[in-house]
Symmetry: C2
Subunit: 143 residues, 2 copies
């Protein structure tokens, strides 16, 4: 049975459920930073997914990255599946800007996270939830 | 026309050509660190690839990651498509070990790369080329 890793649950906020993955907001307002977590137990590496679900995951990553590039007017999208600390499979999708807190360096382990003020976070989760539920990737036909 | 970015050409060594991507060895012996570069001009984001080539890229990433996990007895595989410095689309696939130079932090921008001694690099490129040409991902049928 799938349970979200406690550290992801602590650091993130649930936005919506896509066909394969939960979409989470990382609580760090320095960057628009979302995370996809396939809602399947006992996965650590992307290749732990079965042959049907692997392309589903990457389709969700692409859909999310493409949306974030436009929505946040990003200069670059960063995609990362690291899992050195939290081994539960999760994929970071981060909208980067040339003037953000760590560009051109990666975001992981740099500086101190800045949690959103509550009202700002709630508004963002609601608006992203609306947008992302409209662009839900199709999942019914395995590719 | 596709040309490998000069910085990738400087920092890496060519191992083999897979159906979509060049497979490169990052010249940094601190980690087994390979890079896939789809040999198509003018790509920056994974979602810049067309609908057939996106699953091809991720199949190559999975094939490479799964191979590296076993071959290098890795504790974790890190996958990253960042491109903040080199905008040409490229995907890092890195075999991490609990006792490596920066675990559990990411590898990017940490410490100083340690180039391989020439003989060691040549032997590694040859042996990886042999192994990777035997597991070339199938590309003929778009998924």
């Amino acid at each position: 049975m799938f349970n979200l890793d406690p550290r992801l649950a602590r650091d993130c906020h649930f936005i919506t459920q896509w066909p394969l993955s939960q979409v989470l907001l990382m609580d760090d307002r320095r960057y628009p930073w979302l995370i996809l977590v396939p809602a399947i137990a006992n996965l650590s590496e992307p290749f732990d997914l079965d042959a049907d679900d692997q392309p589903r995951l990457w389709r969700e990553v692409s859909t999310l990255g493409s949306f974030m590039k436009n929505h946040f007017q990003a200069d670059k999208i960063n995609v990362g599946a690291l899992g050195n600390v939290v081994s539960q499979l999760h994929v970071h999708v981060i909208a980067r800007h040339h003037n953000d807190a760590s560009f051109p360096n990666p975001v992981w382990g740099v500086g101190t996270p800045q949690p959103y003020p509550l009202h700002e976070r709630e508004a963002l989760v609601t608006s992203l939830g609306d947008s992302l539920s409209r662009i839900t990737p199709v999942s019914s036909t395995p590719s």
